[in-house]
Each structure stands twice: as structure tokens, then as C-alpha cells.
Symmetry: C2
Subunit: 327 residues, 2 copies
């Protein structure tokens, strides 16, 4: 079912996708070749272009009749790339999408500044929408994301992170950007606030489902599927829901056992696999799957006030894909 | 004359200055206390609020009748602070305005992310102007500044930087932001393009004069005046106009002597003072002073089409102050 769904979505979006790829290339017009190299390393490394596609189909679902949705959709890919560049430097992550992270190929300062450039590029295109509320959405995304990342940094290595804190972090880290892309499309189409809020809600729940599914994949996927080693979050000291839930539900003995595992830096494949077994037994995996599924259902439910259309089908498929994907 | 001019300006702007200080405080409303601490460390360390004041008086000179020039002026202080935070991390600078740089007090990642937050905060307020062209100006500033800083990084330690390359770097590093503050004020006042361009030109030349004067101070001021040790640019491997001009004009013997000095890491006060003598003899200091004076004159000349007013007096005094200041 999984591969079929992905193929179906790709078939439906491929004409747009080609145009998005082209627009991302064309709008990347920095003065310095180095900026282009660093930005391209990340931008053309096989991203799914999820955020531009969501923006495009949110706008179309809301009846947008202009011709600029492809151009404006690049805003959200540049913004996404800017935050990935900064986050990878900040987290010291080595790999991204199966390739070395940019800051392992170029000095970190240049990578940070390229992130700044991409943020400014997103902004420049956003100004062309002539919709100040699109700018407000982008400003809000960036404020939330930068604070979410700082918050997550402060919690690194701590084993007492609560589910509420986790939800707050993933909302800022992932959901606000996906939510912003969907809301931005609605603003562009100038729909009434009620419909704009429906798209905002769709984006929020989709973003939460996506991040939970992502956090699950860090336990359940193979290195080949992930493009990085499983358990990477854990090695970076980031606790995600499968573990947070299991720790909260565990008896004193299991809790002690898990905390000992977490504090041991020698986190090899065997030890990781034992921890995974524990998370299955304590239902941390199942609980996270159920939560992700619930968010995906809420996302789809947000669209119920819209007539059937190709864009609605695509957005619905994406919500399903969010929780069924293997990568 | 110098102190008198500063006192005169401060007297003229002090009612606005208090309101600007208040607005900068009030608009800094992050969710996280850590972000506030890091941002405040830089924002309330005795900055001159030059950019907000320029924005305010550009708007008033252009006949702005609204009530939001104080609020909107904070955009340019936040933007300035964001770039200072990133640049200090990127350059590894230890001191800023006589205090330890933020990244020596907090981890660099948090400082980078606070810079992102301040950029987003600037953007959020810019969206409130409901002037998409103000957003374009800000986007352009950030694109130019990030690339200017990368360009400067690439030239670190090189002794073959030309005057043209130097001019290009300081334009991006300093002049575009000051130019943007002045142009932004004119856009807010909705003046015809010709007057907007006059303010843009004023800001450009003022910015160039300011940076040249700053680069001179690195040779001529005391540590107490600067809030950091003189010769800091040189120790960071940054060649500025006094040296670039002297190197270009020097005979082979002087050139060799200077290059030897530059390649020697033991850059103590005595060696620095000898180099300074050489720059005086080769007229690098005098040439830079003349260039700065020329830009200040051009800045003032840009305002000739405007009637006399308090704002015109203030902008004119600031142009004079740019080249006469000792700190």
C-alpha cells in the first residue's frame, strides 16, 4: 500500500513538481558562487518538496486563480533549507538525506551565513506576494522555529522530558512551517478566515503527524531508508515520544534499565535493538503510532468543508502518506 | 568641536531616543527567557541607535504624518543586532562595545538562533508597516549582508585585497543597512521615487563614511575609546583601506616590510605602532580620511532638495559626526 500511495501522489503532482524544481533553481540567484554551491548542496539533495506542494494545493483548493503559486511556493523550500542549514550546524549533525551535512563540506560560518541568505531570499519572494499577512506568517514561523530549536538544545541529554514538552518542541520545530505553508496558500487565495483556519489546522495536524512518524522512523527504519544511522536522535541526546512514553509508563526496574542504557555512550546496534524491544514491550512505539494516526485523521477532517477536487485528493493522500511512509 | 557636535545631536534626538529604547524593550517578547537574555546582552550594551534614528528622521523629513515611526524604527535595530550576533560568532570576535561578545557568555548555537529570532522579530514588525517595499528593502539588506560577510571571510588573511574589493565589502557590510533605514523611512512616508532615492543616496554615502571612519579608528583610537583593542581588524586578518592604500602605493622595500609585519602573529603594541607610522608616512590614513570626508559631503548634498527642518538638521549633523567621532 505504501509504495502505491507514494506513486499515486508523485503521478498527481509531477507536472507541478518539475516547475517547482525549475523555480527553486531560477530564484537562487546569489552574487557569490560559494553561496550557490552551499545552498545547492542541500536544496538539490532529493528533498520531497513537501512544503511547496502543500502551499500550491492549499492555494488551489481555496480557488486561487493567479499564476504565481509556483513562484511563491519556493518561499517555503528556501525557508526550510535555511533552518536545516542552521540546525545541522547547531546540532553538529553529520548526515542529511544520505549525504554529508553542508557544514562537514564547508566551514560552519559560511554555512550559517548561507542560511541567512536563504532566509532573506524567501523573504524577498514573499514581499512579491504583496500580502503583508504572508510576511507575518513567515516571521512567526521563524520566531517559533528558532526558539523551538533553542528549547530543544536546552533539553539535550535530559531524560525527564515530558510528553507536553515534546509536543511543544515538535510543534515549533516542524508543524509551524507546514502549517504556515498551508495557511500561506489560503491567504494568497484571499479566502474568508474560516477557510484559512481550516487550512491552518490541516497543516498543523499534518506537521505533528509527520514529525511523530519521523521520530518513529528513527527507531524502525534501516540506515539505507533513513540516509543516516537509526538512533541518531538518541545519540544526539534527543528524547522523542516512543521513549518519553515508555519511560513514563515503565516500572522502576525498566526505568532504571533504560536510563542506564541512555547514559552509556557505547550505543551500538545490539544495544539499540535491545532498547527498541523495550519500547515495543512498553507500548511507546504503538502509542506514538496511534497519536500520529490521530493527527493525520484530524488533518483530513479539517478539509471536510471543501468540495472534492484534485487538490483536495492530493492533500488527503499526503496526510495518509505522512503516517505510512517508510522514509 | 567633536564633543559639542555629539552633545548637540543627543540633545536634539533625546526625546525620540527614550521612546526608541522603550520600544526596543517592549517589542522584544520572545517566549524563552534565554533568548531575551542573549538578545538583551547585545541590545542594551550602549548602542547609538543610529539606524532607528535615521529611519525616524528620514520618515519625518519626507513628511510622514503617521504615529508609528518609533515602532517601525526598531526593525533596523533588531536587524543590526541579528547581524552583529551572527558576525561575532562567525568572526570569533571576543569583544563588542567594551563587553564580552555574546558567544563568549552563551554557547554559539544559542547565539546563532537568537540572531535568527531577532531577524524574524524585525520581519514581524516590518509586516505591520503593510508596505511590501519595506520588506523588499529588508530582504535585500539581509541578502547583501550575508554575502558580504562570506566574501570578507574568504579574503581573511590575504594581503592582495584591492580598494574596489574593499569598497564592495563595506557597502554590503555596513552601507546597505544604513541606506535601507533611510530609504525605509522615505517609503513609509510615501514620497515620490526621486525623494526616496535622495534618502537612499544619503544613507549609502553616510554608511560608507561611517565604515571608513570605523576602520580608521581601529588604527587611531585608544582601547578605552574603542571598547576593544586597536588593531583588532588586523589581528582578525581583515585589511582595511588605510593599509590597502599604503600597500598599493608603497615601494618594493616598504611593501616587503609591511607584508612581513602582517604575517607575523606576534602583533604587540610596539609593532602595531610602527606599522601605524608607516601608514601615516605612506598617506594611507590621510587618503582614507579624505575618502570618508568625501562620502559625508555627498551624503549631505543628497539632502539639498529638502526644505530646512529639525530632521534635516539632525541628519546633517549625523553626517558630520560620522567623520569626526572618536568612538
Amino acid at each position: 500500500m505504501n509504495k502505491d500511495l507514494k506513486t499515486q501522489i508523485v503521478d498527481l503532482v509531477s507536472p507541478d513538481l518539475e516547475k517547482v524544481e525549475q523555480a527553486i533553481k531560477e530564484n537562487l540567484s546569489p552574487h557569490l558562487d560559494l553561496v550557490k554551491q552551499i545552498a545547492s548542496h542541500l536544496l538539490f539533495s532529493g528533498g520531497k518538496r513537501l512544503r511547496p506542494l502543500l502551499f500550491i494545493h492549499a492555494a488551489r483548493l481555496c480557488g486561487y486563480k493567479g499564476k504565481d503559486e509556483i513562484l511563491f511556493s519556493t518561499i517555503f523550500e528556501y525557508l526550510h533549507a535555511a533552518t536545516l542549514l542552521h540546525d545541522d550546524v547547531v546540532d553538529g549533525a553529520d548526515m542529511r538525506r544520505g549525504r554529508p551535512a553542508a557544514h562537514t563540506c564547508w566551514p560552519a560560518p559560511q554555512v550559517v551565513l548561507t542560511g541567512d541568505f536563504l532566509l532573506a531570499r524567501a523573504l524577498d519572494i514573499a514581499a512579491e506576494t504583496r500580502e503583508p499577512r504572508v510576511i507575518s506568517v513567515i516571521a512567526n514561523i521563524t520566531q517559533e522555529m528558532s526558539q523551538g530549536e533553542i528549547d530543544q538544545l536546552g533539553k539535550k541529554g535530559r531524560t525527564d522530558v515530558t510528553e507536553a514538552q515534546y509536543l511543544d518542541i515538535i510543534e515549533r520545530k516542524t508543524a509551524v512551517l507546514i502549517q504556515g505553508a498551508c495557511q500561506g496558500g489560503a491567504i494568497l487565495a484571499k479566502v474568508p478566515r474560516q477557510k484559512e483556519n481550516a487550512l491552518k489546522s490541516f497543516g498543523f495536524h499534518l506537521g505533528m503527524a509527520f514529525q511523530m512518524a519521523d521520530d518513529l522512523l528513527d527507531y524502525t527504519a534501516t540506515a539505507e531508508q533513513l540516509g543516516k544511522n537509526p538512533g541518531a536522535d538518541l545519540r544526539e541526546g534527543k528524547l522523542t515520544l516512543p521513549l518519553i512514553y515508555s519511560l513514563a509508563k515503565a516500572g522502576p526496574e525498566d526505568q532504571k534499565w533504560m536510563e542506564k542504557r541512555l547514559s552509556d555512550p557505547r550505543f551500538d546496534a545490539v544495544r539499540f535493538s535491545k532498547l527498541k524491544e523495550k519500547l515495543v514491550a512498553l507500548k511507546g512505539i504503538a502509542y506514538t503510532q496511534a497519536k500520529a494516526k490521530d493527527h493525520a485523521a484530524k488533518a483530513k477532517n479539517s478539509l471536510k468543508g471543501f468540495d472534492e477536487s484534485l487538490s483536495k485528493t492530493i492533500l488527503t493522500y499526503i496526510a495518509d502518506y505522512a503516517i505510512h511512509r517508510k522514509v
